[in-house]
């Protein structure tokens, strides 16, 4: 499991900065950035701009997303916001609204 886990039932209002893997099952409002992988797991609600090396989304994100490596939008995942990443995958069953910029 990731070094940092924001469990379900946990709410963070503010800024999360990490150099480790971060897994979100709860609620984050503000900003979220990691130099490692960020996982937005099913049930998570993120209303924040997210910056990470890699991002997988199975929960819900409202905000712009930036990844130096890749963004994976998984089935059941929901992303409203712009994506800026070298690679982007969108699984069948995911919902996504926003612009994509893969020109990083």
């Amino acid at each position: 499991m990731a070094a940092t886990v924001i469990g379900e039932g946990l709410t963070i209002e503010g800024e999360i900065t990490s150099e480790d893997e971060v897994a979100i099952l709860g609620t984050v409002r503000g900003a979220l950035s990691s130099t490692d992988i960020v996982q937005i797991l099913p049930g998570a609600v993120v209303q924040a701009d997210v910056t990470a090396a890699g991002l997988s989304v199975a929960g819900q994100i409202t905000g712009n997303v930036t990844a130096s490596d890749r963004v994976d939008l998984q089935a059941g995942g929901r992303l409203i916001g712009d994506v800026r990443a070298a690679r982007l995958t969108i699984a069948d069953g995911a919902s996504f609204k926003g612009n994509v910029d893969m020109d990083v």
């Binding site: 499991m1 990731a2 070094a3 940092t4 886990v5 924001i6 469990g7 379900e8 039932g9 946990l10 709410t11 963070i12 209002e13 503010g14 800024e15 999360i16 900065t17 990490s18 150099e19 480790d20 893997e21 971060v22 099952l25 709860g26 609620t27 503000g30």
Partner: protein, 252 residues
Amino acid sequence: MSQQSIIGQNTVVRGNVSGSGSLEIQGRVEGDVAMTGDVFIQPGALVRGNVTGNQLSVAGSVAGNLTANEAIALEPGAKVIGDLVGNSIGIADGALVRGLVRTADEEPLASAKPAVVVAAKAPATLQRPIMGGIARPAVAPIVAKPAFAPRPAPAAVPVAVAGPKPAPQPPLQPQIIPPPRAASSESDELEDSNVQNGDESDDDAELASSSPSNPAPSASPHASATAERRDGPPPPVAPALKKSQKAKKKGR
């Protein structure tokens, strides 16, 4: 696992953290942490903000108040600058605390009577904060009345002071009786003595309240006595001044 949250070693949270379930902090949190479950602050962790939880286990550093519904445990190496409030508090050898520590049951926090037990057990230095947290409402009116009443009209001093006195202040008597000098200076001293004794006598009153017969009978005779004694001085004072002034005038 789903209920367990971890803020990892290399993670910084700036803002408030709240929720249910338990939280383990290994990194840094700059903001308040309010959990309904348990909070573990691990070695190397730093929290700048108040921490609230059911049970708190601290082995890291906290700059802020710790409040637990049940227990607080400070492990060796823990560093807390702030107050600790919880039903049961354990501080291990090697833990550092700078702040008020208060252990209490639910009831003492709510009602005044069990607070007597706390006040009795607590060392002198702890009493003031305890009173502040628990029994202020009781203290405030007693202190406030004498402070406000005598000021405008010194003549009213005996009445005003005698009013609030009866209930809580048997121990005041020895200190009040001695200074029957000039009326004006006396009123100031009385105010001071009332204010100073406000805390002590209140403690006494609460302590005495465990034996309920004390306050009413013992206080009322004292009050009447002081009222009489203080009625005494003022009349002589006025004529004495007049006479001396007249004498001076006549002399001139």
